[in-house]
């Protein structure tokens, strides 16, 4: 497998005067056909990062440093017209609110047609066949092509948005909380759809969510963000066995345990830090149960050890010492 997406040292600020440093020095790569999950609580910068990768950042958000390469293209220095042509063919997106992601005055069919025509596809017949094909992937009947968005349910619109994201066979699909606005039953159906999709069409996915449980079920690898930086990254399988960073552990502890459904879930005390001024310390230190004196005086770096990237030196030492490893 070769690397499809590589993000290096990406930083994003909100505003120019007294900016919020929403994403700081993030490096991330995704292999072809790999599903990667990006998790973290609200405001940790995961959506900001996702939109920036698709180059859809909106003012006041702006990329202040770093590089993005997708499939060999420098995604930061392309001219507007090549950028336009590369969009959707290389990277497509699914937004959180699928209900608002479709133009209310155009039929579903017209919204498939315009993107295909403007990316060089010809022939009404061929375009409709392709639309029907991708709609079939998400189990939507072809009749919806003649419908307007207001005539469809929220779950249907979100599935149509997913079908739309696949229509040009993109290499990477960025999904920003695609199931969050839906009820549990529809959420489950869409998750099953997504799992089945990778057997039918080859594409890589960056799945952004605050729901670690959902993410673990779908993706190969999980990236955990906290306060604008990556604090842990490892395979889903590895994470299920052992979370390294105290924040990831806290996230795991907040999940319901299927073997003990009546057990109490652990919340994470405290709230995320202010991102105007970045301290010379571990960002999680104020909320961390394992905090040590050194955590408050120096910024820990993201280091790779045993195929796991983690920012916490304390838990890394545990592994070295051979304690605290669940087998």
């Amino acid at each position: 497998m070769s690397t499809l997406l590589s993000v290096e040292d990406l930083s994003i600020d909100y505003g120019r005067r007294n900016p919020v440093h929403a994403v700081r020095n993030v490096s991330l790569s995704i292999e072809e056909d790999e599903f990667v999950g990006l998790v973290g609580e609200s405001g940790c910068g995961k959506s900001t990062l996702g939109f920036a990768i698709a180059r859809l950042e909106r003012p006041p958000a702006q990329i202040v440093g770093g590089r993005i390469h997708i499939g060999g293209n420098d995604w930061m220095s392309m001219d507007a017209e090549s950028m336009r042509k590369a969009r959707w063919e290389t990277v497509s997106v699914v937004l959180q609110s699928g209900m608002n992601a479709l133009n209310p005055i155009m039929t579903i069919g017209a919204q498939f047609r315009d993107v295909m025509e403007q990316h060089g596809h010809r022939g009404r017949r061929a375009i409709e066949e392709r639309a029907v094909e991708v709609l079939d992937l998400v189990q939507i009947r072809p009749e919806v092509l003649r419908r307007y968005p207001h005539e469809l349910s929220g779950g249907m619109k979100q599935r149509i948005a997913i079908a739309l994201s696949l229509v040009l066979r993109p290499k990477l699909v960025i999904m920003d909380e695609p199931t969050t606005a839906l009820d549990m039953v529809v959420q489950r159906q869409i998750l099953e759809n997504l799992k089945a999709l990778r057997h039918q069409q080859s594409f890589a996915m960056l799945f952004i969510s605050h729901d670690l449980g959902l993410v673990l079920e779908l993706v190969d690898r999980v990236v955990v963000m906290y306060a604008g930086e990556i604090i842990e990254e490892q395979s889903s399988r590895g994470l299920l066995k052992h979370a390294w960073h105290p924040y990831t552990r806290a996230l795991m502890d907040s999940l319901p345990d299927p073997e003990n459904p009546k057990g109490s879930y652990q919340g994470i005390p405290g709230s995320p830090p202010d991102l105007h001024v970045i301290p010379e310390a571990c960002m999680y230190a104020p909320r961390c149960p394992l905090v040590q004196e050194s955590c408050r005086t120096s910024t820990p770096s993201l280091e790779t050890f045993q195929d796991v990237q983690s920012r916490c030196p304390v838990t890394r030492q545990e592994v070295v010492d051979g304690v605290g490893v669940r087998s």
Partner: protein, 330 residues
């Protein structure tokens, strides 16, 4: 289809209410037209009872009780018979309105269309370049022209461009030296006379359309479907028109339809300032001469036009907004 039928029923009900109110209001006022006219003749000498009766017959003063009068009135409205104008006797109200209406429709109608079209187009431009200099210039000028008191603008235009500089005529709708008809010199004279009033109408109303469209556009630009349209790599003109402008235009359509309805009411001020022989000028003359039949006829025409404009706006909405199309039936 059900939508259409429902709209037609609402239209007919509204018209009936308007006509009835138009019937009732003059009857709530004290005095009667014969006495008014008599008072005028008394200034020149006394009148015999037979002359009074003759005037009453000539003006068509109604007999019978209120319900008989109402029934008769309804019948006459249907036949566009609004009686005789006191001021322009022996011309009928219908005749006077028919001769003033084309001027108003032409002047105010065309000005309103230009103002809406140009204002909306510039609003789109301003929104697509928001924050840049083109936006700054357009927005500032619009806010400025939007606050001009119209009578001041009109009088200033007449004084400077017509009275001092003699670039445009002071009053009227055409040069009486040319015979009326579709030939070159007459048309040039009509355009020459109409230019100044039209320009003042456009200047005073274009800012509202521009700012309204710009604000709607900027709200729509923040919609998720516009973000997605950009992500789809659609051409920016296509996004600006099909995704942003088409949606932003919807709230403005209602305002435009209302404006079209009020076209017939005429710009009263415009027609007075420029002595333009339209409905507004006619209404002004009817008011100062206490010409009740003429006023009543003009009011009725104005109300009917506003109601009709609303009706057509509802139908036009169906063309532009699919959400209304199956309203109530889906």
């Amino acid at each position: 289809m059900r939508y259409f039928v429902r709209r037609v029923i609402i239209l007919l009900c509204t018209l009936w209410v308007a006509i009835t109110v138009n019937f009732m209001i003059p009857r709530l006022m004290p005095g009667n037209p014969v006495e008014t006219m008599m008072a005028r003749f008394h200034e020149r000498g006394s009148m015999s009872p037979s002359a009074m009766k003759a005037i009453a017959l000539m003006l068509g003063v109604k007999h019978g009780n209120v319900f008989q009068q109402y029934w008769q009135y309804l019948g006459e409205v249907v036949h566009f018979n609004f009686g005789v104008s006191y001021t322009y006797f022996p011309y009928t109200v219908t005749y006077m309105i028919a001769h003033a209406l084309p001027w108003t429709l032409g002047l105010v109608g065309i000005s309103t269309l230009i103002s809406f079209g140009l204002g909306t187009a510039l609003g789109i431009v301003a929104a697509m370049r928001r924050g840049k200099s083109a936006d700054g210039v357009l927005t500032t000028i619009s806010s400025f022209t939007n606050t001009f008191p119209y009578f001041w603008l009109g009088l200033a235009a007449v004084y400077v461009l017509a009275f001092v500089l003699h670039w445009f005529p002071l009053s009227g709708a055409y040069n009486a030296a040319f015979p009326t008809g579709f030939h070159w010199s007459f048309i040039v004279s009509v355009v020459h006379h109409g230019f100044l009033p039209a320009m003042t109408i456009v200047i005073s109303s274009i800012g509202g359309w521009l700012l309204g469209m710009r604000n709607n556009m900027i709200n729509t630009l923040n919609e998720d479907y516009v973000l997605l349209a950009n992500a789809k790599g659609l051409k920016s003109r296509w996004v600006a028109w099909m995704y942003v402008a088409r949606n932003a235009l919807l709230p403005n359509l209602t305002g435009f339809a209302m404006a079209l309805g009020f076209v017939v009411g005429g710009s009263l001020l415009t027609e007075i300032v420029f002595s333009y022989p339209g409905i507004g000028f006619l209404l002004y003359n009817a008011v100062i001469n206490e010409d009740y039949p003429l006023m009543q006829g003009i009011f009725l025409i104005i109300v009917v036009c506003v109601v009709l404009a609303n009706f057509f706006a509802d139908l036009a909405y169906v063309l532009f907004d699919p959400r209304v199309r199956r309203g109530g039936t889906s």
